[in-house]
Amino acid sequence: MNERERVAAERDTWENEDVAAFARRRPERREDFQTFSGETMERLYTPADVQYDYDRDLGFPGRYPFTRGPYPTMYRAQPWTMRQIAGYGTAADTNERFRFLIAQGQTGISVDFDMPTLMGYDSDDPRSEGEVGREGVAIDTLDDLDVLFRGIELDKISVSMTINPTAWILMAMYVALAQERGIPLDRLAGTVQNDIIKEYVAQKEWIFPPRPAMRIVRDSILYSTKHMPHYNPVNVSGYHIREAGSTAAQEVAFTLAAGKAYVEEVIKAGGSVDDFAPRLSFFFVSQIDFLEEVAKFRAARRIWARTMKEKYGAKKAESMRLRFHTQTAGASCTAREPLNNIVRTTIEALAAVLGGTQSLHTNGYDEALSIPSETAMRIALRTQQIILEESGVAGTIDPLAGSYAVEVLTDRIEQRVNEYFDQIEERGGVIACVEESWLQQEIANAAFDLARKKDAHELEFVGVTKYRDDKGKAPALDLHTIDPAWERNQLERLRRTKAERDQSAVASALERLVQAARDENENLIPYTVEAVKARVTGGEIVNALVPLFGRYKELAIF
C-alpha cells in the first residue's frame, strides 16, 4: 500500500468512526457546503485527493506552466502595483484626484471615463444629458486628455485606461499627447482595456458590430506591438463577466476564450504570436470566496500557458505567462452597513495577492452607494499597504501551493474551463457564441441562480440576508457628490475647442480616416492619431465610421 492509499483508507475510517460519532452529537450546520460558485466543498482534503504532478502542474515561479507565478521573485522584488481607478467631472477635477492618490503612495494611474466617452458620444450629444462626468471623467478631445495628465510624467508612471468600444480613440489621443510633449512612444508604459468581446458578453458598452470591432482591436495590437513595446494594447477582462453574475469558472473560461479570439485575429492578419502575445494582459475580479479565488488565479495562469504553448505554438516564455490586474468585487459590497465592505475588500485583496496579481484596485467602502469619496479611497489604498507591509504574505511566493484544498479547487477550475472551451469551439467560436447570446444566457442563468440562493438563504450576506438590522442608524458617510457645474464646464470646454480648431483640417482628417476604414488591410490607428491632433472629437470619429461599420443591436435575453 502506498502513502496515498494508506491515507485514503485512514480517511474512510475517520469518516465512518470519528466523524459519524461526533456528528450524531453535533450535526453539521449544513448538509452540503459549497463554494460561492456552487462547487462542492468536501469536509476535508488530504494527500489522497490531490492529483498534481509537481513538475508538470506546478513547477517554479517564472517557469512554465506559471501556476506559481509569472516571475521568479514575485513581490520580494516588485510589489504589485497599487492602482486605484479614479475619474469624475472634467479632466481638471480628476487630475486633482490623481495627484492626491500619487501623494498617498499610489504607484500607477487608472482612469475611469464617463458613459458618453465610453460609448462614443460627445458631451454635447442629446444622449449624454445627465451623464457627463458622472460615472467617470468626460474626455471629448485631446485638449481634455492634456489637462487630465497635467503635471504627471507619462514616461515615468504607467497609465491604465478602462475604455472599450472607443479604446482606440483614447489610445490614439495618448500617443498624440506623448508626441506633442516630446516623449518617445517606446517610453510609454500602460494599458488600455480595449476588450470588446467581454462588452458584448457582460459590460455592454458597444458601438459597432463584433466584426469591425475586432478589426479595430487587431489594429491597436499591431500598432502597439510595433511602436510601444511597453504598452499593453488589450486587457482581457473577466471582471465584468463575474460582476454580471457568472461563476468563477465562467469568468476564467469566457475571458481566456476572448484572449484566444484576439490571438487568432492577429495571427490571421499576419502577426507572429511571439511578437504580440507577451503584451496581452488580463483583468480578473477577486470575489469573497477566498479559497476559490486563490485557486482561480492559479488555474488561469496554468490554462493560459498551456493554451499558448500547445494551441498556438508560442516559443517565448513571455507569450505564455499570464499577467493580470485585479479589482475587488463591487458586487460583494453592500449599501447596508457600508463599513463592513472594508472587511470584505480586505479578504478579497488578500486572495488577489495570494493568487499572484500584478496590480490591484481595492474598492471603497461606499462602492454600493456612489463613486468613491476621498476617505473611502484612502482606506482602500491603506488596505493594500497593510497587506504588503505588515501581513507578511508578500515574503514568500505562492504560499498556498500544496494546500490540499487549494490544489483540488485549482484543478477543478481548470477542468471546468476546458469543458467550456470545448463547448465554445463546438458552437463555432466565441464571436458566434456572442452573436447567439449564448455566453450572455449562461451568465444570466448563473446570476439568477445566485439571486435564488440568496432569497432562499442558501447563501448569506451579513447585514443583508442575515443579522439584518433595519432599525440601526446608518453611519453618516461623507459621500462623493455630483457637481452640476461639471457638465456645464465640460460643454463650455468642448465649445471652445470646436470654435478654435482648423475646420478644414478636421474635415480632411475625417475623410482620410473613413477612406482607411474602407480598406480592411489598413491600420486605423495612425489616421486616428492624425484626427485627434486636429482636435476632432471622439464623437465625430465614431459618427464618421457608423455609416460604414453599422451599429450593434443586442439580442436581449433574460
Partner: protein
C-alpha cells in the same frame, strides 16, 4: 354574465441610460416571468421616449425601470412627462437599482410607486408588482 379577468399582468422591464448594468433587470424580469406575468424586457440604452413607446405598444400594467448610472433624477421626470403627454399616466412605475436613500421620497413625489434595490428579497418585489398591477386593473375597471 361577467367575464373573469383571465389575462395576465403585463410588465415592461426597462433599462434607460448609457450604462450596461443589466444584471438586476434580467433577474427581476425572470422572477416576474416565473411568477406568471408577461414580461417584456426592453434591452439596454433606452431613452425615455423609447420606454414609453414600448409600454404603450405592449399595453403594460407596470413599467419597472432599472437604473444604476445615477441619472435617475434626470430620467424619471422625463418619463412621467411623456406618460402624461401620451395619456398613459395610469401605467404604474416602479424603480430599482442604485438609488441613494434621500432620493427615494423625491422619486415617490414624482409618482414612482415603489423603489427596490438588490438588498431586498426578490419575492418582496414580485409581491409588490403583483399588488400594484392588480390595483391598477381594479382602478381602471379592467
Amino acid at each position: 354574465m361577467m367575464s373573469m379577468p383571465t389575462h395576465t399582468f403585463r410588465i415592461v422591464v426597462a433599462k434607460p441610460g448609457l450604462d450596461g448594468h443589466d444584471r438586476g433587470a434580467k433577474i427581476v424580469a425572470r422572477a416576474l416571468r416565473d411568477a406568471g406575468m408577461e414580461v417584456i424586457y426592453t434591452g439596454l440604452h433606452q431613452t425615455a421616449e423609447e420606454i414609453v413607446e414600448t409600454a404603450i405598444q405592449e399595453d403594460a400594467d407596470v413599467i419597472g425601470v432599472s437604473i444604476l448610472s445615477g441619472a435617475h433624477m434626470t430620467i424619471f421626470p422625463k418619463l412621467f412627462g411623456l406618460l402624461r403627454e401620451r395619456d398613459a399616466g395610469d401605467i404604474v412605475v416602479v424603480a430599482g437599482g442604485v438609488i441613494q436613500s434621500e432620493d427615494v421620497p423625491r422619486l415617490q413625489e414624482m409618482g414612482v410607486s415603489a423603489v427596490y434595490d438588490a438588498e431586498q428579497p426578490l419575492q418582496a418585489l414580485v409581491d409588490a408588482v403583483t399588488r400594484l398591477a392588480a390595483e391598477r386593473r381594479v382602478r381602471l375597471g379592467l
